[in-house]
Each structure stands twice: as structure tokens, then as C-alpha cells.
């Protein structure tokens, strides 16, 4: 292989693909499958809600809209801090990268924390996934309400939590100086994922809490 490694770059240039380096392209492709995953969950919700409007309560009747609005704002902020981290490393600003990453991690964790807090309250109110228990709780709507709610927000929450984990990993690498304006695949990749999760939440917040 040594021979290949010393070959002039022109000779090794592959057939032009999309003009996007592997990692970034891979993340995009992975995100396509994520879109379909959320399609299954959100699509089922839309369909079930359409079929059984009586199972769902008016906005604010059961769910805490103001709290979640704040939480949504937090997630939107985390998107901007993420993109700032990327902008920083593009300019080789190591310190900026670390600071913005840290900010993103803090915001992301806060989001998850608030969601856990919300869950605890909801469960205490009797808003539980178990159909039998839901009916007994006497809350508005029907069991499809709670089950679709936990399904969608739960899997979104898991995605945020995984994203926080990935960000921590990137931050550790960043502290070791792994990134530069020439090597920023990791930062960009996590960023894409993070913004995607944010994007999903924008949709979820609307259809779960506001409609």
C-alpha cells in the first residue's frame, strides 16, 4: 500500500461524487432513515388522531404548554450555539469551538431535564401510557393521547440525549485539539444531527402541544 499512499493526488482522485466528504454524506444519508423513523411515529399519530379525535384533548388542557414553549426555546437556542461552534472551528477558533460546544451541551441537557420533569408531573396526574390506567385516571381524551404523546416525545428525547452524548465526545476530542478548519468533519456531522433533532421538535411541538 505504501505505493498507493505516495501516489500523486490527481491519480487517486475518485470519480466525482456529490462533492461532499464521506462522513458528512454518511450523516445525511443516515438522517434520511431518521426521517422515515419519525414518519412512522408521527404518521401513526396523525392517522390515529384523525380516526379518533375523541381521544385527544384541546391544547393546554392536559399538557403544560408554557413550560414546553420555554423548553422549545431552549432547544432553538442550542441550535444556534451548535452552529456557532461550527462557525468557530471553521475559523480555527479553538476556544470558541469549546465554549459553544459546552453551551450546546448545557442547553441540550436542560431540555432533557425539563422533559423528564414534565414526564414526572404528567405521570403523577395519571397521564400514563397504560390504557386501562389512563381511562381510570379520568383525564380528558383517551389512552391514544398519552401513548402517542410518550411515543413521539420519548423517542425525540432519546435522540436529544444521544446527541448530548455525542457532543460530549466531540468536546473531549476538541479539548485534545482534534479539530481544525481542515478537520471539522466530526463537528459538522454532530451539528447536522443536532439540527435535525431540533427540526423534528419544531414539528412535534406544534402537532403535539398546539394543535
Amino acid at each position: 500500500m505504501s505505493q498507493a499512499a505516495t501516489m500523486p493526488i490527481e491519480e487517486r482522485a475518485p470519480e466525482p461524487g456529490l462533492g461532499i466528504y464521506n462522513l458528512k454524506l454518511g450523516i445525511w444519508i443516515f438522517l434520511l432513515s431518521e426521517v422515515m423513523f419519525f414518519t412512522a411515529l408521527i404518521g401513526s399519530y396523525v392517522i390515529l388522531r384523525f380516526a379518533h379525535p375523541d381521544h385527544f384533548a384541546a391544547p393546554g388542557e392536559v399538557l403544560n404548554v408554557p413550560l414546553t414553549a420555554v423548553n422549545t426555546f431552549i432547544l432553538i437556542c442550542s441550535s444556534v450555539t451548535m452552529v456557532k461552534a461550527y462557525a468557530a472551528i471553521e475559523k480555527d477558533d479553538q476556544k470558541g469551538l469549546k465554549q459553544w460546544l459546552l453551551a450546546t451541551i448545557v442547553l441540550g441537557s436542560t431540555f432533557v431535564g425539563v422533559q423528564v420533569y414534565e414526564y414526572i408531573h404528567l405521570v403523577n396526574d395519571g397521564f400514563v401510557p397504560d390504557a386501562q390506567a389512563y381511562v381510570e385516571s379520568g383525564l380528558a381524551g383517551g389512552p391514544l393521547y398519552s401513548s402517542t404523546f410518550y411515543l413521539m416525545t420519548g423517542f425525540h428525547g432519546v435522540h436529544v440525549a444521544l446527541g448530548v452524548g455525542a457532543l460530549i465526545f466531540i468536546l473531549i476530542k476538541a479539548m485534545r485539539g482534534a479539530y481544525s478548519s481542515q478537520r471539522l468533519g466530526g463537528v459538522e456531522g454532530v451539528g447536522l444531527y443536532w439540527h435535525f433533532v431540533d427540526l423534528v421538535w419544531i414539528v412535534l411541538f406544534t402537532i403535539v402541544y398546539l394543535i
Binding site: V35, A51, I76, A87, D198
Partner: protein, 90 residues
């Protein structure tokens, strides 16, 4: 808004827009304007926000058009799945 960002999309600006849109949605859900109208508005605002995130934060605007095609692949499938299955319950 920020200096030294001339080469970049206006990240902070988008952030402000997203936040405003979000609070607008909460507002819409509070105002009584008929269910159909309110749903239409809410969906529209969310779509605008989502597209903004994709275009600027995910840099889709600055990517080759082929990536746009790739990224759009699931969209018809989403429409097909939901619009078809909903026919069951009309």
C-alpha cells in the same frame, strides 16, 4: 448582527426569526380563529421554521443540488403513507 460573519449565513438572525415564529405559534394556538384556520397557520409556520433550519443551520442552501434531491427522497413517501392510510378513516 455579528461581525466577521460575512461569509456565513446570518445565524443569529435566523435564531431570532425561529424564536419569534415559535412564540407566534403559541399565540396562534391561544387565539380562537376556528380549528381549520389555526391548524393551517400552525402547520405553515412550523414548515417555515423547519425549512429555515434545514437551509441555514444544516447548510443545505450551500450544498450541491444533488444533495437536495437526496434529502427530498423521503418527502413523497411521507405524503404517500399518511394520505393513503388516512383514507381508511374518512
Amino acid at each position: 448582527m455579528q461581525h466577521g460573519e460575512s461569509a456565513h449565513p446570518p445565524y443569529m438572525m435566523i435564531w431570532v426569526v425561529l424564536a419569534v415564529l415559535m412564540f407566534a405559534k403559541v399565540g396562534v394556538s391561544l387565539v380562537d380563529m376556528g380549528r381549520g384556520m389555526s391548524i393551517a397557520l400552525l402547520v405553515l409556520i412550523s414548515l417555515v421554521s423547519a425549512v429555515l433550519v434545514a437551509l441555514y443551520y444544516m447548510h443545505l442552501r450551500f450544498e450541491p443540488k444533488k444533495l437536495w434531491i437526496l434529502a427530498a427522497l423521503p418527502l413523497p413517501l411521507i405524503a404517500i403513507l399518511i394520505l393513503t392510510v388516512i383514507q381508511e378513516f374518512r
